[in-house]
Subunit: 193 residues, 2 copies
């Protein structure tokens, strides 16, 4: 579970709103056995998630498309982690700061040391939710297609097309003080990969 | 919404189970204003989703990491679509077959013509759920970081690192009848991209 959480960048957070389920994408960070989500204090979805309600946070890494000889056996290679729990709003300033650092570091290792740290006002404006990893599971599919024996006589290619999230060329915003592209950007790779 | 659905490969389906929300990743297809999900008839999550309960299906394309001069203004460029509705189990054989074709074609354009079509038994073993796109919304973030004016004097790089899902080299399973890598695999690109 932790390996999958560390490698993915986006989590899908599910909670139950008045009219039914809601699933929102968000970044996150991990410190030990705790997952941290964050957002603006005004974020209705996140506020709902912090209100002591049950959450389900799912993270999925898509590793490849599985091409089978039959339409039926087509599949995806993937790794997913599902975390169930009740969100806890983080109020302790030290835990909040550590959680936000973890979120930035998760997205781009080394970045937190390069940037201006959050001010007291920014910390106040940020809602951080902690979720224990105690109730979590992982699901993984790897390898070639499963085939029916009868289909192996068909002249159809079977195999896997691997997929990877790849960084492109950094695009500077061209304002402010001119600087080189820093290590956290230049050397970025999918976390944990 | 449809452009986002067409380009992404994995949806996160949220529904409310006995003990709270559940979010599961799955592939999908689109025909007009209907989204189709599928899975084994024995798939408990999918069965729950088909049972006339409210669903939330969220699809997220991660386009880049937004590096700001402050930790606070870091963000992601993304496009997400959120669909709310009640799932309908598809029983009409023609609609079911069309939905499954749409799912295969969504993942790899041209593939359904290369493979063996589903047998009657396979159709029976497959649960297909239709979800109307009538209640759907999209959310998009693009462009450079938002910065506080005061931070523009800092010697910190600000900009975007684009991210793209890229196919690697196809890996054939090396069994059955020897064939070349077909067009759907060799020419694969992120759908709609």
């Amino acid at each position: 579970v932790t390996a999958i959480l560390d490698e993915a960048l986006v989590a899908h957070v599910g909670f139950v709103a008045e009219h039914g389920p809601v699933v929102i994408p968000t970044t996150y960070g991990r410190v030990g056995d705790t997952l941290y989500l964050h957002g603006a204090v005004g974020n209705a979805g996140l506020r709902a998630a912090a209100g002591g309600r049950p959450l389900c946070v799912t993270v999925t890494l898509l590793d490849g498309i599985v091409f089978a000889r039959s339409a039926f056996h087509h599949s995806m290679n993937y790794r997913s982690a599902v975390v169930f729990g009740v969100g806890r709003a983080v109020t302790d300033p030290a835990e909040k700061a550590a959680a936000l650092t973890a979120i930035v570091e998760h997205v781009a290792a080394g970045r937190s040391a390069e940037t201006r740290a959050p001010s007291a006002a920014e910390l106040t404006r940020t809602l951080v939710i902690a979720l224990s990893l105690a109730e979590a599971s992982a699901k993984v599919r790897t390898g070639p297609p499963v085939e029916d024996d009868d289909d192996l006589g068909l002249a159809v290619w079977g195999g896997v097309l691997p997929l990877t999230l790849v960084p492109g060329e950094p695009v500077g915003d061209g304002i402010g003080v001119a600087t080189g592209v820093p290590a956290s950007v230049r050397g970025w790779q999918r976390p944990g990969a």
